[in-house]
C-alpha cells in the first residue's frame, strides 16, 4: 500500500555520509580532548578500602557454601557487627557521605567535566542537524513501522500521508549516536569516553542515585536478612536499570516530539545531579 518514493542520490551523498563522517570526527575529537583534560586523581584511601570491602563481602555471600559454618558466621559478624562492623553504616552517617561529596570540589568538577564533554557536542550536533538538514525525507527504514513513530522520526516532514518508513535526518542522527559506539571501540581501543550512552542509561535515572552509600544498602541486607542470603544490593541494581530503561522508552515514544527534547533536558538535569554523587568503588 506504500507508494515508493524515489529519493535523490544527492541526499545520500550530501546528507547521510557527511553526517556520519562528522559524528565520527567529533567522537574522535572528544576522545583526544578528554585524554588531554583528564586530571590524574589520587584515589582516596577510604574509597579504595570501601570498594575492596564490598568485593570481599560479595565473595563471602557467593561462596558461603564452601567454608565451614563457623568461619562464615565469624566473617558475617565481622562485617555486620553493630558496633564496629565494616559494613555497618548507621542512617545518620549515610547522609553525611552525600553531603561530603557535595562539598568535595575535585570530584564534583571531574564528574561535571566528563558529563559536559558529552552533553555539549551532542547538543551542538543536534542543533546543527536540525538547522541544516530538516524539512526533507532523508532515508527509508527497511522495515515497516507503526504510526506512533511518525512524530518522532518525521518531524520536519509536514505531510501526513508519507509512509512512516521515510524518516528525516534527525533519526539518522540518533541512529548514528547509538550505533557508532561499536565503531569507536574498534578505532579508539577499549577504554574510550564514548560509552556515554551506556552511562546515560545507567545514570539518567528518575531520581534514584545508586551511589547513596553502597555500604548502606549492603548493611541493610546483612542486618535484616541475617539468616537469609539474599542479594538485596543486586536487586536494587536491577531495579535501577529497569526503571531507567522504562523511563527512556516512555520518553521516546511520546506523541509529541517536544517530549524528546524534554527528556534530553531531564537527562541533563539528572546527570548534573548524579554527577555529584560519585559511586563508591
Amino acid at each position: 500500500m506504500a507508494e515508493d518514493l524515489v529519493l535523490d542520490t544527492a541526499i545520500r551523498d550530501w546528507v547521510l555520509i557527511p553526517l556520519s563522517v562528522v559524528m565520527v570526527l567529533i567522537g574522535v575529537l572528544r576522545y583526544f580532548v578528554s585524554k588531554l583534560m583528564r586530571s590524574s586523581q589520587l584515589p582516596d584511601a577510604k574509597i579504595v578500602k570501601e570498594g575492596q570491602v564490598i568485593v570481599r563481602a560479595r565473595n563471602l555471600r557467593a561462596g558461603a557454601n564452601f567454608i565451614p559454618a563457623k568461619s562464615f558466621r565469624a566473617r558475617r559478624a565481622y562485617f555486620s557487627n553493630e558496633e564496629n562492623g565494616l559494613l555497618f553504616v548507621p542512617k545518620g552517617q549515610a547522609q553525611n557521605a552525600q553531603a561530603q561529596m557535595f562539598s568535595d570540589p575535585n570530584m564534583a568538577m571531574d564528574m561535571m567535566k566528563k558529563n559536559l564533554s558529552m552533553i555539549i557536542p551532542q547538543t551542538l550536533t543536534f542543533a546543527w542537524v536540525n538547522f541544516f538538514f530538516s524539512g526533507f525525507v532523508a532515508a527509508k527504514i527497511p522495515f515497516p513501522l507503526t504510526q506512533r513513530f511518525r512524530s518522532m522520526l518525521q518531524n520536519g516532514i509536514d505531510l501526513s500521508t508519507v509512509d512512516v518508513s521515510y524518516v528525516s535526518s534527525r533519526s539518522w542522527y540518533f541512529l548514528n549516536l547509538f550505533g557508532l559506539r561499536g565503531l569507536f571501540s574498534l578505532i579508539l581501543g577499549e577504554e574510550n569516553a564514548m560509552d556515554d550512552t551506556q552511562r546515560m542509561m545507567q545514570m539518567g535515572g528518575f531520581g534514584f542515585d545508586p551511589s547513596k552509600g553502597m555500604l548502606y544498602w549492603y548493611s541493610l541486607g546483612q542486618r535484616d536478612g541475617g539468616k537469609i542470603i539474599q542479594s538485596l544490593w543486586l536487586g536494587e541494581e536491577h531495579t535501577v536499570l529497569v526503571t531507567n530503561l522504562i523511563g527512556m522508552w516512555v520518553a521516546s515514544s511520546g506523541s509529541d516530539c517536544q517530549m524528546l527534547a524534554l527528556y534530553q533536558i531531564f537527562v541533563v538535569l539528572c546527570l548534573v545531579r548524579s554527577s555529584i554523587f560519585v559511586p563508591i568503588g
Partner: protein
Amino acid sequence: MVSKTEEAQVNRLENQVDNGGGGAWEYLCLVRKLKLRRSDKVLKHGLSILNDPSKRSSLGHEEWTLYEQVAIAAMDCQCLDVAKGCINVLQKKFPGSKRVGRLEAMLLEAKGSWAEAGKAYSSLLEDNALDQVIHKRRAAMEKAQGNLSGAIECLNKYLEIFMADHDAWRELAEIYVSLQMYKQAAFCYEELILSQPTNPLCHLAYADLSPKRSPLRACEAAGCHCSCSNMEPDGNKKDSAP
C-alpha cells in the same frame, strides 16, 4: 590463574622462539599479560629485540614497556648491570617518573642494600600511599631478609586496605604454613576459596591443612577433597578417609 589454553599458547610460543622462529614480541606480551615468571627467557629474547635498533624502532612507544620488563627480568636473574642500563635509558626518557623510581628501588633491593631500598620505598609511598606494588615489595623485602614476622605484619597492614587481593592472601597463607601457624593459614585459605571458588588448588590446600589442625577437621578435609574432585573431571580423585 592461567587457563589451559593460555598456558599451551605460551609454551608453543616459547618453543617457537627458542628454536629460532619469530614471534618474540608476542611471547613477551603474553608473558607480561599473564604475569608469568620466566625471567631467563624474557631476558634473552627481550635483549635480542632491544639490541637490534631496527626491531627496537619498530616497537614504537611500547619500547619503554619492554625496557621495564627486561629490567625486572634482569634483576630476577641477577644481571644487575643489564638492569642498570635499562633503568638509565628509562630515566633519560622519563625523568622524575614514579614508575622509574620504583624500578630504581627494586634495583637497590636486588643488590641487597635493604636499608636504602626501604628508604626509597618509603619516600615513594609518601607520594602515593595507595601503590599496591610498593606495599607488596616491602613485604617481599622482609621475607627475603628472613624476617617472616615483619613480612606478616606488612602483609596484614596491606590487606587491611586491599582485602580483595587474592595473591596477597595466598602469600600470607604460605608464610603462615611455613611458620606452622595453621589456624591463621586456614583463615587465609578460606579467603582464597571465597574469592576463587572454582580453583581446585585452594580447596586442596585448605583440605591438606585441616588434618594438621585437629583430627576432627579431617572430616572437613574429606568434604573438601570431594568438592574439589567434583570440579576437575580429569583431575585426581582423592577421597581420603577421615
